[in-house]
Amino acid sequence: MNLDLLLQLVVNGLIVGTLYGVVAMCFVLIYKSTQIVNFAQGEFLLIGAWVCWWLMTSFEAPIWIGFPLTFLFMLIFGVLLQVVVLRPMIGEPIISVIMVTIGLSIFFQSLMGWIFGVFAKPFPRVFETESINILGLQVQTAYMMSLVISLVIMVGFYYFFKYSRLGLAMRATAFNQQVAQSLGISVKQVFAMSWAISAMVSALAGVVVGMVNGVSSALSFFGIKVFPAVILGGLDSIVGAIVGGLTIGVLENLAEYFDAQWLHLGNLYTVAPFYVLVIILMIKPYGLFGTKDIERI
Amino acid sequence: MSDAAPLLEVNDVSLVFGGVRALTDINFSVDRGELFSIIGPNGAGKTSMLNCVSGRYSPNQGRILFQGRDVTRLRPNQRCQLGIGRTFQNLALFNHMTVLDNIMVGRHHLMRNNFLTGSLYWLTGAQREELDHRRAVEDIIDFLEISHIRKAVAGTLSYGLRKRVELARAVALKPDLILLDEPMAGMNLEEKEDMARYVIDLNEEWGMTVIMIEHDMGVVMDISHRVMVLDFGKKIADGLPEEVMRNEHVRTAYLGEEAAGDADPNERVA
């Protein structure tokens, strides 16, 4: 047993896990208000990262300008996307809308490839110190930034859904669009809101990952990578998304630990979370915090 | 299993949801051939009672005997095989199937072909079986007078028609005991009359024992052999319709009659 290594891995897992949590939250947001699983989530990250990268390299904008501008861009992007593509789909079968997000993902993936090329591009240096030491582990500063922002966002979301008028409207829309409409809720507005927020928050994650690894089309794989986190926490739970993210982050690292120390199977890091996911779902079919479907006749 | 024993026996059943006591120590039995009604205010636990009988809920306490056999722990599909069929208060049709297919699903447990023999349709007798059951289903369709919509997709039908399709599907199960949850809700007088006639026919001619939940007192009084009243999860009365009607509590808490005694039980609820 190497406790030092174990500790470092757990810390690493927690930190990467927050990022999973943030992206998972974006999923949950869209799901909660529209019941759509957004397969273009990864592309949202990618677009956010590229836009921020572009602002910061072409105009040499500092991060505190580049980042808010990116947010603004993503806001407009989210609304536009909703108006142009998703609005006509209101009232259509959810599965068709999910397929549309797959189409979007193909579209944006190649659009980004065309505009920005396919090579990974380094992000301009943002923080004086690139990494700081936490419990013996060097951690990139960008992660710490995301940690703080995502905590704020998480708390915000929680209250938003629980208490705000719009939050209620989003939940009602997710329950049944016709019912929501009959209550005077503009399904279009609700959708626009949730896509815009989700796009903005994804951009945060995109920028952070971009800072750490460079920006490249591969970033979009993040979208699929966080599925286990989303499900583990429960599809409709903001808190669940964070817990799921952290759990998956730690799990991956623990798997790596056991693999490297004893098992030597290889690839446990990627696959183990999926085994655990299935086991947890067998015990708790709605994830850790997801609300049960109402089974009543 | 003897004919003398009641078809259904409910012993001491209690059901709790979180803090809500939906049912408390319910006891009753239904004899073969009876047309038994359950009435009571909204939220009294009538539907929950049916759910316990059909297997959707398992009671926290108590036993349910069907044909002398303890079915308390059986899955709904197993109870169906034993001969319990039902309809639902909030429609539960297969919305994307045609009316015909909906009813054919009711024959599921009576059929033998499976995915292998079904795939080889012509070679394995699956076709013959399908056609046999189709014939039986058409009889039901004729009986319930829904032949004009047999090819319609169930989800697009109006509420009243869907209720009727639900009844057809339950009848297709060939149950010994059929549970009807507010079969006449959402129907106008004429349609209620039709429905009442179907229920009576099922009971008298098709030989099914019926348990029916219904809020229309006129119907309940006219056609049921025996009535049980639930309120707040408790049984407050059980007996012949006229007896139950005379119960003070029923009149005030359920029917909302100001003065007891003189009202004609047959008066249309109005």
Partner: protein
Amino acid sequence: MAGHATMRCGEFRTSYRADTTIFPTPMSRNFALGGVVLLVLAPLVLNAYYLNLLIQIGYYGIAALGLNILVGFTGQISLGHAAFFGFGAFASAWINNSFGIPVILSIPLAGVLTTAVGMIVGVPAGRIKGLYLAIATLASQFILEDFFARAEWFTGGSSGSLANSISLFGYSMSSDQSYFYVVLFFVVVMFLFGANLLRTRDGRAFVAVRDHYLSAEIMGINLTKYRILSFGISSFYAGIGGALYGHYLGFVSAEGFTILLSIQFLGMVIIGGLGSVMGALLGTTFMVLLPEVMTSLVGSVGDMLPGLSQGVAYIKQMAIGLAIILFLIFEPDGLAHRWKMVKAYWKLYPFSY
């Protein structure tokens, strides 16, 4: 009564048997028969390219039908279909290579083996529902992919495994022409099986489970059994499709069976129309032809605008994404639905409504 509105003027049947055929009208049956006859003649007129596309539509179409049984009929979304498809490909190659069982038998055997794997993967479906289940199947996608890389005895590891071509009575069916007939045979058989299955007891049970599982259970349907069974049957189709794919390519490597292909399968059934046998084939055709059509369309645009030559590849990909989006905006219920509308129109012609 309002029933008039739903009564069709163009339907006349005199027996239940006539009412339970796969093809609702004699015309549609003749249509289908004619289609098969045309396909039988196809190799005589079509060149290898078109045959190749038809073969692709064939093996993907079989797998897509399987997925449609799972997603469209039983209502369980699967993101792991590509892994089953791959498993079938590996299994058939393995059975043939290791045991010397002829390919024509190894293909159905691979289907059976894949069924077993599919049922195991389907076990959680007894408890997990909806999107949670979808992600659980995503897990099986990754777990199986990992297995492919690990199980060298089965998959040939990094160098992949060779899949021999079919030989019947000493005649090798390795040319596109002869392989086309093999695929056509399987397509016809599998689609007939599928259509039969879905109009009989178990098929109805699948749909019942999808539409309202609570009442389905009360109607006597064993939910767990049918949920798992549908995984099994769907995997059987995937396995057959995958095996045909493997023997056509002659080489099976884990690289081809990623989540991307799973998503593509999902695209096929959604675009084709969930819950429609015909839809599986239509959707597959759409997804297979789309890149080809886009290549030639965008290629000719690229010729006109030479500056775009590298961009052409991206434009093509974007066009594929866009085509999917536009298609669903205008036909969210899938091709099969459009097909039905066209049929309904003709049936009632010249009385609309």
